[in-house]
């Protein structure tokens, strides 16, 4: 059974239907990429997986999203718990205006996840797993805002890892980064997929082809095609997918 399952999912922003009858199954400990042109609903879909859209006024959702078999939209769903379990990394790195250390420790403290004396070790482990520790070891108490853009993004990933999520949602995580920085994040994703289920939304088709195991193509709110990444990029089944990934779209 998939880690995340969407069943007959419809999503509306007031009168506008952004997602139309989405059915898909995201595999555990794999990287799933969602591609499609701007406005196709891919970020909306991603944000449904940890109920980030709930913050927007006038939204309505029909259908179900199951994570580990449990509908996350049921009435008694614990949002704090959900967002701890399903972490998110955004397009622009958004570290808190705190020290590097406190950025990681923050989640541990608000979720009351560790004893005070355990926190330094967890902070180090998290920074180490995104290969940032050696770069910042001597300035853990300086502001995270002083880091480079790519270091900030890795810090945000480390911050997500600190609260031990099972799923990491990434919304265009490299679009603000240069190619070398992008490569570092992609390498990191390959390491993280051993332990986490990753869903990435990206405009960059080459990136989707490089990093993901499975790919979904969305258009005008529909999931047109979903399958193994190598199949989608070498022999897509749907003409619309073919037109989009070969740049014939329009």
């Amino acid at each position: 059974m998939g880690k995340i399952i969407a069943k007959n999912l419809d999503f509306y922003y007031k009168d506008f239907q952004a997602l139309k009858n989405i059915n898909l199954e995201i595999s555990e400990k794999k990287i799933t990429a969602i591609i499609g042109p701007s406005g196709c609903g891919k970020s909306t879909l991603l944000r449904c997986f940890n109920r980030m859209n709930d913050l927007i006024e006038g939204i309505r959702l029909e259908g179900e999203i199951l994570i580990d078999g449990v509908n996350i939209y049921r009435d008694d769903s614990d949002l704090l718990f959900l967002r701890k379990k399903v972490g998110m990394v955004f397009q622009r790195p958004n570290p808190f205006a705190l020290s590097i250390y406190e950025n990681i420790a923050f989640g541990l403290k608000i979720h009351n996840m560790a004893k005070r004396k355990e926190i330094p070790k967890i902070v180090e482990d998290c920074l180490n797993s995104v290969h940032l520790l050696d770069e910042v070891r001597d300035r853990l108490n300086t502001s995270a805002l002083k880091l480079s853009l790519e270091q900030k993004q890795r810090l945000c990933i480390a911050r997500t890892l600190a609260v031990k999520p099972e799923v990491i949602l990434m919304d265009e995580p490299c679009s603000a980064l240069d190619p070398l920085a992008t490569l570092k994040i992609e390498e990191l994703m390959q390491e993280l997929r051993k332990d986490y289920t990753i869903v990435i939304v990206t405009h960059n088709m080459q990136q989707a082809a490089r990093v993901s195991d499975e790919t979904g193509f969305m258009l005008l709110g529909e999931l047109v095609e979903f399958g193994k990444t190598q199949d989608i990029f070498t022999r897509p089944g749907d003409k619309r997918t073919e037109d989009y990934i070969t740049g014939r779209f329009g």
Binding site: A209, T234, R235, P236, E242, F249, G250
Partner: protein, 218 residues
């Protein structure tokens, strides 16, 4: 939407067709050289090999450039990778035509050990299979491609007939071996040409449908 890339793909397609026509002509002329015992024609085939080699290098380079710079996907990717493979087969086909021309040269001014019956049949089959494979490439026609592939057994059968007959001739009269062995080799070269035509046909099916039929019975 027409892309600039489409123009480059069309140019690549034209280059592959140019190479194909040179290879087809080489087979035709090499078989004619053998049939007519025409030394001049045989030399012409041997001389044409450089054109094929140069085209192969040019096509390879174009394909690699397109892969590196355009990062093609889906049917564009399948077309370019198929282009690289077809070019390799065409180059081998042309080499085999040269081999046949060299055997023809060896046999010029010598009486044939037997009238040529099955070798011309095999030659016609080889030409038809190469033409069919290339037509299927031009028309993106998978039925035609599958049809070519289905004829590969005919080629094996004709080669076996030639082989059997020549072995019998040599076993009866060993002095005929120097004139029999070149014919035996010609049959083998023609059968190999049919194999390359089959490869091209299989690549066309992959290019058009994305389905791999190579090394599979269906």
């Amino acid at each position: 939407m027409e892309r600039h890339f489409d123009e480059e793909l069309k140019d690549l397609n034209l280059l592959i067709l140019k190479m194909a026509s040179v290879a087809e002509e080489a087979i035709f002329k090499s078989v004619e050289a053998l049939r007519r015992q025409d030394k001049k024609l045989a030399e012409e085939v041997i001389g044409s090999d450089k054109i094929i080699d140069d085209l192969e290098l040019e096509i390879d380079e174009r394909c690699i450039d397109l892969l590196a710079t355009k990062q093609p996907m889906a049917k564009d990717l399948r077309f370019i990778t198929t282009g690289i493979r077809i070019t390799t087969d065409l180059e081998r086909i042309a080499d085999l035509a040269v081999d046949i021309a060299e055997r023809a040269e060896e046999l010029v001014d010598q009486p044939l050990v037997k009238p040529l019956i099955d070798i011309p049949k095999l030659a016609v089959l080889a030409q038809e299979m190469v033409k069919g494979a290339l037509d299927s490439f031009v028309k993106r026609d998978i039925d035609l491609a599958r049809n070519v592939r289905n004829r590969d057994d005919e080629a094996d059968h004709l080669r076996d007939l030639v082989q059997k007959e020549l072995i019998e001739i040599v076993s009866q009269d060993g002095s005929k071996a120097p004139r029999s062995i070149p014919l035996l080799l010609v049959a083998r070269h023609l059968e190999r040409i049919c194999d390359h035509a089959t490869n091209i046909a299989e690549d066309v099916v992959y290019m058009v449908e994305g389905m791999v039929i190579k090394h599979r019975p269906f």
